[in-house]
């Protein structure tokens, strides 16, 4: 049969159409849209979320472009697609729609996969009487990759979701506590319906479902007035007792009856977590929006809910579970911290964002504590943004930056697949950051500035076309910045509009921290020995400016030391610079650095906070020195001209005018413990003493009325007292209980410290506690005001103590006649006659080599030897040694004394009957200032430090020099040296100097 040609064409066309129609049902089912389970929450007239899962049932096509049209009267706000997708348009043409597009086919929704699209919108409002049901108006597939096509069919049109008229919010207090914690959840229910809703009850959901008991919710039922009425919002309180440790999530929903008996309900919301345990952890990011490659900070917080101290070792970087994040190169693990009972401590981490746009980023981990591991703390998920915004500087110390006006740069990078035509910089705090003004721009063009719209908010608009991958940099300035007492973060919003005058695509918030500079590190010291330099310091963290790390610089001289620039992370290898020797971050607890470089070098240590705002860097500057052969030198940073306290072979204690007491290892010079702060400058000496209970302590009295006892084993103050109004420059003397007379031991159970004050009082302190047991008023005994600036001398044989005054001679008292109560201080010795009623003394008297002798040297150099019992003069000599510094007794065949001052050292010999005092030798160093002389009876020598930078050794018999140590290396031609002690184990002399160094020099 033949067929006409035109008819054949018609049949062919019909067959083609029929084939197409036959094929259509298969294509209609290859793309399925459904609600993401549990992720959609819509409240009437409120900002809401609609989350959709789109499953690709195609065998060959990849979904890359899709648009959703929202229900009637919904207003689109934004959202997020699957990782690698971005929003390319938000349209409000009748019905609002949001279009998502994959930035490349690689990140599209591949065959067999499901992509989740989250849309944020303000739900429809207006007059309703109960919950409503809404549906999407349209879904459009705009593009695909691969072969084949998509068809949605019509099933999605029947998909509805509720728009609820009740709104629920919850608050928990307290949120942390130990087992047995009682906590309330206060639920606030708001009715958005235009009618009264009755029988409203809150249904709490606690996860996990066990480990707690509930006392129920009060009231059990509410009647909420219509929207806008005062009674439209009411509260329900639910009380729980938590019997087991754990983290409990408190969620809930509300339900009642609206108009016509219809349901009025709320979406289920989470009020928060209750952490019940001795220790709990939380983890959070500083920003929940970051772009690929951006460095992000996260804070891990450990709370000690228990009653005792807690040691916390935070999770190491390698122990964290990270999604879309990586530790920065060279990141150091945060160090351990102690967390006091009831307190929290933060640990800081840095991460580089690694994933593509739209990906979530998450970190999780648990700390190890002295009470066991914490819960695994997980951050809320952040989102990798397609727009990167960075403010430079993002942290400022107002006094450090130039201004007013104060300039800031903002860099915006467009990582999306589309151009940005408009960007707004929004300043929501125009009373603090005043009068924002455009200065310059590249990449986009300044358009306008709008001030106080809305009230309190300024914004600057930039327009143009910022291509994908391009950056724009704006400089803006403010006329004033806020004044802060603690570091404060101020938010600025950056609004991105793909089309000029179009809909907002994204808002990114970045902050500027107006900072208080963190304090310098404290107690910076440098030990120099043959191996190099050991730097040590103490990190000072304050709530106003928490410590995050340090940076150390080195140079040939202090004047050449660099200063760090705020905002620069010197731990990043990209920021290496000349002079930089060390840097750390992330809450580092490092307090020691070893530099294997020897010689005289200058070092500076600066602290920084988490945004790399640096400390003043003014006080932690020290120089090292060339160590003496076989010894060491330690720069303590404060004049050290007092005789050190020493336990040979074990510990040395050096008081300095840095108002601290440094405790060093006698052999190596290493800092055994951090220096102990004193209240003022220490006086005279810092002796080592063994308490009656066996503990070894170092004692110090200072010119601010402070007395300190340091436990040498613990390296911490045993006690420290501040005696208001007292000034101690005469040092202190200890009554050793075990060597005191029986009468004393019967009355006292402890050692007693005697501390003379310029106020004319001698304070007796319990050496075990620092408590004042009595106050001896010498002025009362003298019958006139006196001042005490010399040490008290105690005679363990008799129980007497001798108190020189600055202008009224010497008084004597009997401790045996006292008891350790305030009303019973020592009494004056009966029969004591003041040997020099107008004598001026600033040096303690000395028990003479003869058991009945007491020797005192006044400020003119007059030495009186008197009877200890009566004060009767036995001998005298006007030596001419003015302002004497030491008076030593010398026993043996030629008994007598050694008297020294800054100018000379004299050997005095006592002989004959009646006794006479005669000069046996004088030593001085021409042009030099001498230290107080120290007598070493076992070697029959006197050792004197001199400002010629040498340690001079003299013969005890006649002060004839026997040798001198090599001069100390120093950049100063002259240097005051302190009196020395001898470490008989290490065979070294140890002494300080006016420049803050302590030296250990081998015996010579």
């Amino acid at each position: 049969m033949s067929v006409p040609v035109h008819l054949a064409r018609a049949v062919a066309l019909a067959v083609t159409l029929a084939a197409a129609l036959l094929a259509a049902p298969a294509a209609a089912q290859n793309l399925t849209v459904s609600l993401t389970p549990g992720a959609t929450s819509v409240t009437h007239g409120q900002d809401s979320v609609i989350s959709l899962d789109v499953r690709n049932g195609s065998a060959t096509a990849t979904l890359s472009d899709i648009e959703f049209k929202l229900p009637k009267d919904y207003v689109a706000l934004g959202g997020a697609g699957p990782p690698g997708w971005s929003i390319t348009r938000i349209l409000g043409n009748g019905f609002w729609s949001i279009r998502f597009r994959a930035t490349s086919c690689v990140v599209g929704v591949a065959p067999g996969q499901t992509g989740t699209f989250r849309m944020e919108a303000t739900a429809a409002g207006g007059s309703v009487t109960a919950d409503e049901q809404d549906a999407l108006k349209d879904v459009t597939v705009h593009g695909s990759c691969g072969t084949g096509s998509f068809s949605l069919g019509s099933a999605w049109r029947t998909m509805t979701f509720p728009r609820k008229v009740l709104e629920l919010a919850g608050a928990i207090a307290p949120t942390h506590g130990a087992t047995g914690l009682v906590s309330d959840v206060v639920w606030t229910v708001t009715n958005h319906a235009s009618v009264t809703v009755t029988g409203v009850a809150v249904t709490p959901v606690v996860v996990p479902a066990s480990g707690w008991t509930s006392a129920g919710c009060t009231p059990a039922s509410l009647t909420l007035g219509a929207a806008g009425a005062a009674s439209a919002t009411q509260a329900v309180t639910c009380r729980y007792t938590y019997g087991a440790a754990g983290t409990y999530r408190q969620a809930g929903s509300a339900r009642g009856t609206g108009g016509g008996g219809a349901t009025a309900s709320s979406v289920e919301v989470v009020a928060g977590d209750v952490n019940v345990a001795a220790v709990t952890a939380k983890f959070r990011f500083e920003s929940l929006v970051a772009s690929t490659g951006e460095r992000l900070r996260a804070i891990f917080t450990v709370t000690n809910n228990g009653g005792g101290p807690l040691t916390v070792r935070p999770p190491r970087y390698a122990e964290l579970a990270l999604t879309s994040l990586a530790p920065p190169p060279g990141a150091a693990d945060p160090g351990e911290k102690n967390v006091p009972a009831g307190k929290s401590e933060d640990f800081t981490y840095s991460f580089d964002v690694t994933a593509v746009v739209g990906s979530p980023y998450v970190a999780a981990g648990a700390a190890v504590t002295s009470l066991g591991a914490t819960n695994v703390a997980t951050t809320p998920a952040g989102t990798v943004s397609d727009t990167r915004v960075e403010i430079v500087p993002n942290a400022v110390v107002r006094q450090r930056i130039s201004g007013p006006p104060y300039a800031f740069d903002v860099e915006v990078t467009n990582n999306s697949a589309y151009a940005v035509e408009e960007l707004r910089l929004v300043n929501p705090q125009n009373a603090a950051f005043t009068n924002v003004t455009h200065v310059s721009a590249t990449g986009l063009t300044y358009s306008s500035v709008t001030r106080n719209s809305p009230a309190g908010t300024d914004f600057i608009t930039y327009t143009g076309s910022l291509a994908p991958g391009a950056s724009a940099v704006f400089r803006v300035r403010f006329d004033a910045l806020p004044t802060v007492s603690i570091t404060t973060h101020y938010p600025f919003a950056f609004r991105v509009y793909p089309r000029r005058g179009g809909e907002l695509l994204r808002e990114i918030v970045r902050t500027i921290a107006v900072s208080t500079a963190p304090p310098d590190v404290a107690d910076f010291t440098i030990l120099s020995d043959a191996s190099g330099q050991t730097l040590q310091w103490r990190n000072v963290s304050t709530s106003a400016a928490p410590h995050d790390g340090v940076v150390i610089f080195r140079a040939a001289t202090a004047g050449a030391l660099p200063l760090p620039a705020d905002g620069v992370d010197y731990a990043d290898p990209a920021n290496a610079m000349a002079g930089l020797v060390y840097a750390d971050r992330d809450g580092s607890t490092v307090t020691r650095y070893f530099d294997a470089t020897t010689g005289e070098l200058a070092y500076r240590v600066c602290a920084h906070d988490a945004r790399f705002v640096y400390s003043p860097c003014t006080t932690a500057v020290r120089t090292s020195a060339v160590a003496p052969a076989g010894g060491w030198t330690h720069n303590l940073g404060g004049a050290a001209l007092l005789v050190p306290g020493a336990v040979p072979g074990s510990r040395l204690a050096v008081g300095t005018n840095a108002r601290s007491l440094a405790i060093l290892d006698a052999t190596t010079g290493l800092r055994v413990f951090d220096p102990i702060p004193l209240l003022g400058n220490p006086s005279r000496s810092t002796p080592a003493f063994q308490l009656v209970d066996g503990r070894r302590v170092i004692l110090a009295a200072d010119d601010a009325g402070g007395v300190t006892a340091v436990d040498l084993e613990a390296g911490a103050p045993l006690w420290q007292v501040a005696l208001s109004g007292e000034v101690f420059v005469g040092g202190l003397t200890a009554i050793n209980h075990r060597y005191a007379p029986a009468a004393f031991r019967a009355a006292y159970t402890h050692d007693v410290l005697l501390v003379p004050s310029t106020t004319g009082r001698v304070l007796g302190l319990d050496a075990a506690t620092g408590a004042v047991v009595w106050t001896l008023d010498v002025s009362a005994a003298a019958g006139k005001p006196v001042s005490l600036r010399a040490g008290v001398t105690y005679d363990h044989a008799s129980g007497r103590l001798y108190v020189p005054t600055t202008a009224a001679g010497v008084y004597a008292f009997d401790v045996n006649a006292s008891t350790p109560v305030a009303s019973d201080p020592p009494d004056p010795i009966a029969g004591w006659s003041n040997p020099s009623p107008t004598g001026q003394y600033t040096l303690a008297c000395t028990l003479g080599p003869v058991a009945t002798d007491l020797a005192c040297a006044d400020r003119s150099g007059l030495v009186l030897v008197v009877d200890r019992a009566t004060g009767a003069e036995k001998a005298r000599l006007a030596t001419g040694v003015t302002l004497p510094a030491t008076l030593w007794p010398v026993s043996g065949a030629s008994a007598g004394y050694v008297l020294s001052s800054a100018a000379q050292t004299q050997r005095l010999v006592l002989s004959g009957t009646p006794a006479t005092l005669a000069l046996a030798g004088t030593a001085w160093v021409p042009g030099a200032t001498l230290s107080p002389a120290q007598v070493f009876a076992t070697t029959q020598t006197i050792v004197v430090g001199a400002s010629d930078r040498k340690l001079h050794q003299l013969r005890l018999a006649d002060t004839v020099p026997t040798g001198a140590a090599a001069p100390l290396p120093s950049s100063s031609a002259t240097l005051l040296l302190g009196p020395s002690v001898f470490d008989s184990v290490g065979q070294r002399f140890v002494f300080g100097a006016e420049d803050g160094r302590v030296w250990a020099v081998k015996a010579f």
Binding site: V392, I401, G559, G567
Partner: protein, 163 residues
């Protein structure tokens, strides 16, 4: 972005013309990327705001409120009075560095200025009699330097102690 930070600080410094580093702050002479790093942007002495001129002074008094020179044997203590006024607000930590005749820091006397509370002076005692000042007979010119905040010295006084 860290290089941008450096660049920006340089631009800020240049734009504002107010980036004088404190004394002793020297840029590295080494030709390296670090050599391009600008000096730290700080503005010592402390800024003056609101048009209020800054005034600062240190006065050192001996017995009876007398002004030096003093004989070392006749002085039990010196009283160091520091005063400071500017338009700054808040609490301003301050210190007086006490330098001995050889230039070493003998001690630091610390205090606080609270201009808003009217506290623009503080006084501290420096003990002399019986201390290492006397035992070492540290005669000569003593220097008292007042610094406020993290800036450099804003005032200085010198007193001579004689034999």
């Amino acid at each position: 972005m860290r290089r941008l930070t450096v660049l920006t600080l340089a631009l800020l410094a240049a734009a504002c013309g107010d980036a004088t580093p404190p004394a002793g702050d020297a840029a590295s002479p080494v030709a390296s990327p670090a050599a391009a790093r600008p000096p730290r942007v700080r503005t010592p002495p402390p800024r003056q705001e609101g048009g209020t001129p800054m005034t600062a002074a240190v006065v050192v008094r001996g017995p009876g409120g007398s002004l030096g020179p003093f004989r070392i044997a006749e002085v039990d203590r010196l009283v160091v009075e520091a005063s400071y006024a500017s338009g700054e607000r808040g609490v301003l930590p301050a210190r007086v560095d006490v330098l001995g005749p050889r230039g070493s820091v003998h001690t630091r006397l610390e205090g606080t200025f609270r201009p808003a509370a009217g506290a623009v002076t503080f006084a501290r005692d420096l003990e002399v009699q019986g201390t290492i000042i006397e035992t070492y007979q540290q005669v000569g010119r003593w220097t008292f330097r007042l610094s406020v905040g993290e800036g450099g010295p804003v005032a200085e006084a010198q007193v001579e102690l004689r034999e």
